[in-house]
């Protein structure tokens, strides 16, 4: 757009930011509600901005609910799943992009199609499997279940990243005397780090947010992650305390906020790369 009107940029900025604020409004409202004193919520007429900011709901959350336990579970769950998935996917992506063997393209295609499988189909047999093996109702069972959707996507993303790296670097390392694995650790891995970080962040968020598998596979508070845990809090209380729930919602979103503030470049790059290539 090469219109040289001086009013263009400010006008566009106004319109776009208005839209952005409308889109983000629910989340803003969430934060505002969480710091309002309980009484304000039910005042009529309603107030928009809090007259007084309080963190009492967060305190209640931490001290009087099982939030911390759920948080602990989520951290362990997401970290373990991400670690496992990243290791397997990095090796797999390396294999898919730098080696030739029969069936390679078929495997790549399979990865893509499994990504589209409905989780409703897999969850019931997975539930049975966990019962049979004896790990039902545990965090470990969730790690296993989460890989069903985390691994295909991580593989697809990492494969995308690695195939865009020039081959000559690996070749130079091989001629210089490295074995294939040596070349991988010395040259390919360092180059792939941005892509790996992207994928890891993505995997972490996706596992952090997962609800359905957690709902069906786990029903004890000991192993409940935040998603099902917070909903349990909503359901089991006689009085739905919205301020508490909003505080829980904000607290649950903390990793996301941290990632966005510091690392969103990685996230967007990874998303765009694989999202466009489908």
């Amino acid at each position: 757009m090469t219109r040289s009107n001086i009013w263009t940029k400010p006008l566009v900025s106004l319109v776009v930011w208005l839209i952005v604020l409308i889109v983000v409004f629910p989340l803003i409202w969430m934060v505002l509600t969480s710091v309002k004193p309980q009484s304000e919520l039910f005042r009529i007429p309603a107030t928009f901005w809090p007259t007084r900011i309080t963190f009492e709901h967060y305190q209640t959350l931490l001290n009087e609910t099982l939030f911390l336990k759920y948080l602990r579970n989520s951290i362990i769950l997401s970290t373990s799943t991400t670690l496992l998935v990243i290791v397997v996917a990095v090796l797999g992506a390396f294999s898919l992009t730098r080696f030739a063997y029969r069936g390679r393209e078929r495997i790549a295609l399979l990865v893509l199609t499994t990504y589209l499988l409905p989780s409703v189909v897999l969850v019931l047999p997975l539930y049975l499997m966990m019962v049979r093996v004896g790990i039902a109702n545990s965090l470990f069972s969730l790690v296993v279940a989460y890989t069903t959707f985390a691994l295909p996507y991580a593989l697809w993303l990492l494969r995308s990243f690695m195939s865009s790296m020039p081959e000559e670097l690996e070749w130079a390392a091989l001629v210089d005397g490295a074995s294939r694995l040596g070349a991988f650790f010395d040259v390919i891995l360092p180059q792939a780090i941005p892509g790996i970080i992207s994928t890891a962040l993505f995997t972490f968020i996706v596992t952090w947010n997962e609800y359905f598998y957690a709902l069906i596979l786990v029903n004890t508070d000991e192993a409940r992650p935040l998603t099902t845990g917070v909903i349990t809090m909503l359901v089991t209380s006689f009085n739905i305390e919205w301020s508490l729930l909003m505080a829980a919602a904000v607290a649950m979103s903390l990793p996301l906020i941290i990632i966005f503030v510091f690392l969103q470049g990685y996230l967007v790059k990874g998303f765009a790369t694989a999202g466009v290539k489908g």
Partner: protein, 360 residues
Amino acid sequence: MARAVGITLRKLRKQYGPVVAVNDLDLEIAAGEFVSLLGPSGCGKTTTLRMLAGLDFPTSGTISFGERVVNDLAPAKRDVAMVFQSYALYPHMTVGENIAYPLKKRGVPKAEQPARVGAVARLLQLEPFLSRKPRHLSGGQQQRVALGRALVRDPEIFLLDEPLSNLDAKLRAHMRTELIELHRKIGKTMVYVTHDQLEAMTMSSRIAVMRGGDLQQFATPIEIYQRPANTFVADFIGTPAMTLLDADLRAQDGHGEVMFGPVSIPLPDNLVNQRRGGTPVKLGIRPEDVLIAENDGFPGTVKVIEPTGHENIVLFSLHNHNITGRVPAQVHLEVGQPVRISFRSARLHLFDRETGLRLS
């Protein structure tokens, strides 16, 4: 010191489905030779080089270094060094670490590495850059780092894949002479891939001209220039290019002549022994063998003049045939001017019109 070693390719073939990239190549490179693989893109030269390095695998045929068949040796075990067109420097390592990497991989003790890296760095004037990352270096500097990485290992064989093609013309010319010096100094076998015939001609002891996977000619630069094996080589080598015309041979009473249109050039006996009359040929004339004659010669016209400074490249028209010639700049010519043209008949080239092969 690792000794130089020769390379033998026997019926080397690389095929991708129906596409033949390298077609039963037979090549014998002597120890310490500087051989260029020359040809247009797609001729198979880079594929051959990669197979020499072990980065690509032959469909059939053998590759031997000295007496050793190396087909199934991993690149790391072949004792070759390679300089890539894009330099392939490790971006996350400093220049010093790049150069030291081959030493590291070969188990050279840590204590010895700095000395060797330093020696190479001094040789290539890279000392001020040792702690910098490659992206902070210019193209020419990066190229020297790539060279350094290859040199530091003291391998038996050097493979170079168009290492100068990313440099500007002046730097390229300079690096050519430096590479020639380097080869003279270390005397190792070097295989050099290029599409630039000037590089091949100035640097090599022998040139292997390739086209479409086939070897066209493997000979010294002089021989390739003076006695090209077929029309492709004749046209590919030499700037400006050789003029190739359809012509006919005629032999009469032991004297031969070659004719195109009404032009009939008598040939010395050694060029036309036992040829039957009327043989269709392709006549090749190098521009420097075209002479402006005072009195004799054939009547032609000047069509285009391209001044290059010390000479003019002139396109003559001779009975509707275009012939390129070189004329010293002092000779004043004008477009459209009628001139008399003659040829150094002893230096004419004759090729079979159908096969393109040289007749001699």
